[in-house]
């Protein structure tokens, strides 16, 4: 006697447009799907009924372990209390189990005898605990032996809490996530807990053997005993209640209660009986519909999509969204393409995050592994084609936010892969864009916040360079460019447009450096204006490109370069460094930082004569005269009668040295002499970026050679170590060891060759600290030291040409190169604006 409880026609008679949607399953997946449907105005299309076999509203199953541990009350874990269903006009049948689906009549039958017609059906029956076959586990066909529990539902959880009162020992079968959570929860309730795991590795679904071993140590340190590779054969009991377990090897573990958490099985019986295709779970298409019935959708742990069954909450949310878009017709083309599996959790008090691959799979995959068992820390990263494809973190998950983003969205990764795992002193580049506060300052030079960048992207700017131009972010020291790229990427939700000009050497000439150099050489373009005329779109000049081109041409042509002053930045026009008030700083050459009383006297006289407001020692061991008026520059140089120290250009700057062997009682190499020789040879050489060098006389490294573009360290035995790509400015990086050589002459040769290779292949304004990791130290060593490409001789010759072309720019002062070269530009009546100290 099945009566249609409510004839659909009757109800639909009032609202002809509303059809009936029945949801079987009141868990997280089913209700999330309903929420998504409501969010798409589904209430206007559907009268919704939800069946749930648990007599409650909808709760957060993930928090059951907190309830067990006593940190959450059951009332705190409800997502949707019963009122929510009423408020949303949803007919909730809590505690009512659907027992059959009649697909042909489009009717569901429930265990309370009711029947209900549906137009659309959502199956969200989830899964249940799996109980492996074990003697003594069951009291009868449906009842577990007293003291034996699954760990799946609120009832399981309450049952365990009640039973645990006054008990002393518990065993948990299953060393996966839930098993460990149960163990920790019961331990919190005062029980002594042992975990039994059949596999050799805890949480083997997510973790590799090393990570599992570290997790095991951490769990054991909490006082939980762990048995691995143990198969439980029997549940022992006395008077109908559990008393222990017995392994296949005959050993026994006594206990007062037993929790079985040996995996889950999707609830698919209903679907099987309805004739739907079921493999590991109910097979669905990309719209989350059963492959057999277009009126039946399936979501959550009972759905199998492209061979995958998901047991985590994030994929379930994605599924619910697609389902709702398709079901409500708001986006009939919505498709689910599977989820990347990433999870971050606290397992028994230990932070664990896992995503994607556990191990490299292809020969080219990069694998970075860090293990510190004593502190319970383990990290691995798998990178393929420059994208993160897997990561495991145990014990320290501080980098997880960025890693998850990089994993989900394929973000560009820092060249130094290790910085994916640790903060290496580089300012916040690895901080995930998502976790940054809105008011966090991304560009510390120009004070641009994350919110400003996000609003610029939302305003339609979809390229990094476009955002940079519009907000000025990244236009200062440039150290925030990585973070800026991430924030733009994040704000654009992956819709960042590739910036065609990003690969060009300068923005106004559409060629990358090698092609640009080839054309310049082929067309014999010796001046900046000739490059624009021949190679720029519509032969248009571009102010932003001039400086880079001038430097490139000077590098390529040396003596043959045709100087055009208007292509030079003001610093290079007047051979001094412009200051905030329009005055200039003057740094005389002081090779290796060595000076004399005669030089000091001259400098002091100049400072007096020109009323120099500030005399300052620089980081590169030079003396800086600040606040010199432009019109005084030629006279200052003439009075100094010292060559330029080149403290103003994208060029070879300084060689910092220590005292070396002459006086220092520790020195093992004459660093001062070598430093002076290097500076003498390479002074003023132009390049794509500044070149700051150092030579230090022993490994104490007083000249800080390890963080220079090129640093030389004397070591015992008459040898010199050459480090390259170091930095200690906006970016901090220890240089990579290029070579260890036995003579100063070799240092000179390799220095020249390295600098020439840098000059030829680095991008404009790309310092060696970016260029060296980009090229790879092995490659640089091969080219510069081992001459793997057969270009060493040419590099040496090119550098020699540059050295030969050197002339001291301060001789310009005696005869201005252009009319009014040293004429003040501001203010016309000179008013000192920087306070005199």
């Amino acid at each position: 006697m099945t009566l249609l409880e409510e004839a659909p026609a009757a109800r639909n008679g009032h609202e002809p447009s509303r059809s009936r949607l029945v949801v079987v399953g009141n868990g997280m997946a089913g209700v999330r799907a309903v929420e998504e449907i409501l969010a798409r105005d589904g209430a206007g299309q559907f009268a919704i009924t939800v069946f749930g076999d648990e007599p409650y509203g909808n709760y957060n199953r993930i928090l059951l372990s907190n309830v067990l541990a006593g940190s959450d009350d059951t009332s705190e874990i409800y997502l949707n209390p019963v009122d929510w269903y009423t408020d949303n006009d949803i007919d909730l049948r809590a505690g009512v189990r659907v027992v059959r689906i009649d697909r042909f009549a489009k009717v569901v039958l429930a265990d309370d005898g009711s029947t209900l017609h549906y137009d659309r059906l959502v199956i969200a029956t989830g899964s249940r605990s799996f109980f492996p076959p074990m003697e003594g586990m069951w009291a009868d066909n449906t009842t577990l032996t007293a003291g034996v529990f699954g760990f799946r539902s609120l009832d399981d959880c309450s049952g365990m809490i009640d039973y645990a009162a006054g008990k002393a020992r518990a065993v948990v079968i299953g060393g996966g996530l839930l098993g460990l959570e149960a163990a920790r929860g019961l331990q919190n309730r005062g029980l002594e807990v042992e975990v039994v795991h059949a596999a050799p590795t805890l949480m083997n679904a997510q973790l590799d053997d090393d990570a599992g071993a570290i997790l095991r140590r951490s769990v054991e340190n909490l006082g939980i005993t762990v048995h691995t590779e143990k198969r439980t054969e029997k549940v022992l009991s006395a008077d109908g209640a559990v008393t222990g377990i017995e392994f296949s090897d005959g050993t026994q573990v006594p206990c007062d209660m037993l929790v079985v958490s040996a995996g889950i099985r999707p609830n698919v019986g209903l679907a099987v009986r309805a004739g739907l295709t079921v493999e590991r779970a109910i097979v669905v298409d990309d719209h989350l519909r059963s492959v057999d019935d277009e009126n039946i959708y399936v979501v959550g742990e009972c759905a199998q999509h492209r061979g995958q069954v998901y047991g985590l909450v994030a994929p379930l949310w994605e599924q619910a969204t697609v389902l709702a878009e398709h079901l409500t017709g708001t986006n009939p083309k919505a498709v689910y393409q599977g989820s990347r599996m990433a999870t971050k959790l606290k397992v028994a008090g230990v932070d664990v995050a896992a995503m994607g691959l556990k191990h490299p799979e292809h020969p080219d995959d990069e694998f970075v592994q860090f293990s510190e068992p004593r502190n319970g820390i383990y990290k691995t990263i798998v990178v393929r084609d420059g994208k993160l494809v897997g990561a495991t973190l145990v014990g320290d998950v501080s980098k997880v936010a960025f890693l998850m983003q990089a994993f989900d969205r394929g973000l560009p990764l820092p060249e130094e892969r290790i910085s994916l795992m640790f903060d290496l002193g580089t300012p916040s580049v690895e901080v995930g864009a998502a976790e940054l506060a809105d008011d966090a300052q991304v560009c510390n030079c120009n004070g641009v916040s994350k919110a400003a960048i996000v609003s610029c992207v939302q305003g339609g700017q979809k390229t990094v360079s476009g955002v940079s131009a519009a907000t000025r972010a990244g236009k200062g020291c440039g150290s925030c460019k990585g973070l800026l790229g991430q924030v733009v990427e994040w704000a654009a939700g992956g819709a960042v447009e590739e910036d065609a000009s990003a690969s060009w050497y300068v923005p106004g000439v559409p060629y990358a450096k090698p092609e640009l150099m080839r054309l310049i050489r082929e067309l014999e373009l010796h001046s900046v204006s000739s490059v624009f005329a021949a190679l720029a779109p519509e032969a248009a000049e571009d102010a932003q490109s001039k400086m880079g081109l001038a430097s490139l041409l000077q590098m390529m042509w040396a003596e043959e370069y045709v100087e055009e002053h208007d292509a030079r930045f003001i610093n290079d026009r007047v051979h001094a460094n412009i200051q905030r008030d329009g005055t200039f700083s003057v740094v005389p050459q002081m090779k290796g930082g060595v000076t004399s009383s005669e030089q000091l006297r001259k400098i002091a006289d100049v400072a007096d004569k020109y009323e120099v407001p500030l005399i300052k020692l620089t980081g590169g061991q030079r003396i800086d005269l600040l606040g010199i008026r432009k019109e005084d520059l030629p006279a200052v140089w003439a009075d100094l009668d010292m060559p330029s120290g080149f403290a103003y250009g994208k060029s070879f700057r300084t060689v910092k040295t220590c005292v070396g062997t002459d006086f220092c009682r520790f020195g093992v190499g004459d660093s001062t002499a070598l430093g002076i020789a290097i500076e003498e040879r390479f002074k003023g050489i132009a390049g794509p970026g500044k070149m700051k060098l150092a030579v230090t006389g022993c490994p104490r490294n007083c000249a800080e050679a390890l963080c220079k573009d090129l640093g030389v360290v004397a070591v015992e035995g008459g040898r010199w170590e050459i480090y390259v790509g170091g930095a200690a400015g906006a970016h901090v990086r220890k240089g990579d060891l290029l070579a260890t050589v036995t003579s100063a002459a070799e240092v000179m040769t390799l220095t020249g060759r390295f600098l020439q290779y840098y000059r030829e292949s680095a991008n404009w304004l790309e310092r060696t600290y970016s260029w060296v990791p980009r090229m790879g130290i092995e490659h640089l060593r091969a080219v510069v030291v081992d001459d793997s490409e057969g270009i060493a001789e040419r590099l040496d010759a090119e550098m020699q040409k540059a050295v030969d072309a050197y002339r001291d720019p301060w001789t310009d002062g005696r005869e201005p190169a252009t009319p009014g070269q040293f004429r003040p530009s501001l203010p016309l009546t000179v008013l000192p604006q920087v306070p005199v100290r």
Partner: protein
């Protein structure tokens, strides 16, 4: 550009091709730029951002870039191009056959 009727402030020879030089005009400081096509442009000499000397900036046929922080001004209108910051005034400017430079009134934006 039409001939400006104003006192002579300087001479074409004072300004190298492609560069700018600053002149004082009735209490104002004006940067005059001599473009590579031979024409002249004139803007306020002081960058409104932090007081940078625009006459020392790099130029092309359209813009001048302030040497201090890279703010970029349209040579014809004075509009700030890089991020829409405050612009500067543009002035009429011309040189006669003898190369005498005259700076005229502000060009209304």
């Amino acid at each position: 550009m039409e001939e400006v009727d104003a006192p002579v402030v300087g001479h074409l020879e004072d300004i190298p091709v492609g560069e700018g030089r600053a002149f004082a005009v009735a209490g104002d400081q004006v940067a005059v730029f001599r473009l590579r096509d031979g024409s002249l442009r004139a803007l306020d000499a002081v960058c409104p951002h932090r007081g940078g000397p625009l006459a020392d900036g790099l130029t092309d046929e359209r813009v001048v870039v302030c040497p201090l922080h890279g703010y970029t001004y349209d040579l014809a209108t004075g509009q700030e191009m890089s991020s829409g910051a405050t612009g500067v005034c543009a002035y009429q400017v011309s040189a006669d056959e003898g190369g005498a430079i005259r700076i005229g009134p502000r060009i209304a934006r």
